[in-house]
Symmetry: C2
Subunit: 358 residues, 2 copies
């Protein structure tokens, strides 16, 4: 018996196809793949990505690194400009002591000095984050050499440079963001080479920029897509995953026909509340592509069927969350189903790194 709705379900065959397609594309281009595990937070999925050829995993926090390393998936890049307090320093030292191969991000000279004072030189490697146009974290590409030199002088292995072209998460921006990333990384590589700290790894993101990054003239040696392994409504609307590649849905029950619309028992506490300004709704229905979630609260999704017939009370529909990374982080387990079946799950995977924000 399936669990009571709402619950998240993985379509196993679709996910396996997504993993294989991404790995094949990276191999064909000759770049390494280090998928971002914040999307799925599951040991089982990380293992499949590594088995398909990924060189390691990307994570966002020390806590996520601990979860994956404990399961033996211990070649990990924490793609974040960490500010290392005493607690995090001890935890990173412990990871190194048990043999994990950890790299961390830095985007300032002060951050480099901080990790040096924390005694982490020789224990973790460093990658410098540069801003490629998303304007979130990351130093200016021209400053990458300063950060790299500060870390190198403190005894760190400065293995590389990385960027995240988050401005690819908008309609029509994927190619431009990928080009911005390539240009920013090229500038940083040149500056670092000139300073005598040439990077061995030149790492780019993301799912929406992935295809474009593969065909550019770029110094990229590694890519870190996350969302594409499962897909979501945002990527569907951006055109970076196809409807037929979406491998995660929330199974939800129609509880009301109030106002002539569908009211589902899946709300923001299982779908997440992400809604980009360009999104057409709070989420979509996989089997009713024209329908939109027009009102979302914690335990209600109100669906406008766009003229389509209402599904009966008590029926179960498959909702595609806007942003799969935040949806997965809301549940303890994923039900794993074989394609097209609503029967008993083939497996249940624990969201092992759920809530590991620090």
């Amino acid at each position: 018996m399936s669990p009571s709705t709402p619950f998240l379900s993985v379509d196993l065959e679709r996910m396996q196809a997504n993993i294989a397609r991404t790995a094949d594309a990276a191999t064909a281009r000759g770049v390494a793949l280090r998928p971002h595990a914040k999307t799925h937070k599951c040991i089982e999925i990380g293992r499949m990505q590594l088995a398909a050829g990924a060189v390691g995993l990307t994570v966002a926090t020390v806590g996520e690194a601990e979860v994956f390393a404990a399961a033996g998936l211990d070649d990990l890049f924490i793609a974040y400009p960490l500010w290392v307090d005493a607690g995090r320093a001890a935890r990173l030292s412990h990871l190194a002591a048990v043999g994990a191969n950890i790299s961390i991000g830095l985007d300032s000279v002060e951050g480099a000095e901080r990790v040096a004072r924390a005694g982490l030189a020789g224990r973790v490697a460093v990658r410098v984050e540069v801003d490629a146009g998303h304007h979130r974290s990351g130093c200016d590409p021209s400053a990458a050499a300063d950060v790299a030199l500060a870390a190198a002088r403190a005894g760190f292995d400065v293995e590389g440079v990385f960027a995240f072209p988050g401005h690819a998460y908008a309609p029509g921006e994927r190619e431009r963001a990928a080009a911005d990333e390539a240009a920013a990384l090229a500038l940083a590589v040149a500056a670092m080479r000139a300073a005598g700290v040439a990077p061995r790894v030149v790492s780019g993101g993301s799912t929406p920029s992935f295809d474009a990054a593969l065909v550019l003239d770029s110094p990229v040696t590694e890519l870190r897509p996350g969302v594409g392994v499962l897909g979501d409504a945002q990527q569907w609307e951006l055109g970076s995953v196809r409807e037929t590649d979406i491998a995660l849905t929330c199974h939800a029950t129609v509880v009301s026909h109030a106002g002539g619309r569908l009211v589902l028992d899946a709300g923001s506490k299982v779908l997440g509340a992400d809604r980009a300004p360009w999104a057409t709704g709070h989420g979509r229905l996989l089997d009713h592509p024209d329908a939109r979630i027009v009102l979302l609260s914690e335990h209600h999704a109100v669906v406008d069927m766009a003229g389509g017939a209402l599904r009966p009370l008590g029926s179960v529909v498959r909702v595609v969350p806007n942003h799969v990374c935040t949806a997965v982080n809301l549940v303890d387990e994923l039900a794993v189903h074989h394609r097209g079946t609503d029967a008993e799950p083939a497996a249940v995977w624990r969201v092992a790194a759920r809530g590991r924000n620090s």
Copy 2:
């Protein structure tokens, strides 16, 4: 030592004052208080609300009811139009068997027939949900008698009627929404009386409409505010909680000054991604009221300080999430601090009903 950032912290004295003020206001008006526990999901906070005079708690799901009932907080209203599948029917029967006093919501004749077929008559009481203008779930007030009669004929105790004036969550709409609620409930009460199923309990929501509901000529006998016990940036902006009443913040570290702004290590996976169209940002800083979170991703909050000085790298700031209910649901524990101190938490409370969506 405090936990590593990001973590959620409760200001104990502020929260206690919020509980007392809300209880006193309800007592002065002569209405019962049944706070919505989905906001905090904590046994400790529920106990304080009951100790202050609440007649019971409101919850949103059977899973939340199970958690509170297991701790002895077992006078519970599930304010939701449940569609009772076999699993939920068995769980509700079990709650009744162990002595919990459970009411559930219904908004359709079909829903009433469903719970009757599930064998729940005599085990749970029923309240009819009416739409008061939010247009989410709830039947038209004129249809309340039909739903009530269907439930009563099936042997249920139809103890009341309820509404949620969610359209109060918008600037300038609190009074109008409270008036809409009073009018909808009055219509429903009249229809139910005429049909011989007069409600004993006439229940209204919400935090933003609470003050207005207390001064209206209204049939309300019970109110169900949720958010106000802790407060959040949405209620701060709506004017329904004061800045000085906000009792929950996310402690976050400044990890970068990229682009001349603050980058914090708290993102949507601890703050939640809620952002109403009228909200001025993705969250606010309690100690810098003019600052706004202008970019939020899973582990980054980028803060525009609105001309104020940047806080140093490594400093800890207190972030007010836009919507406290979804923030609390992202963590396993709340750190409890006495007012104005950042020292070791006075207590750690488990978010016992986190993730109980079904």
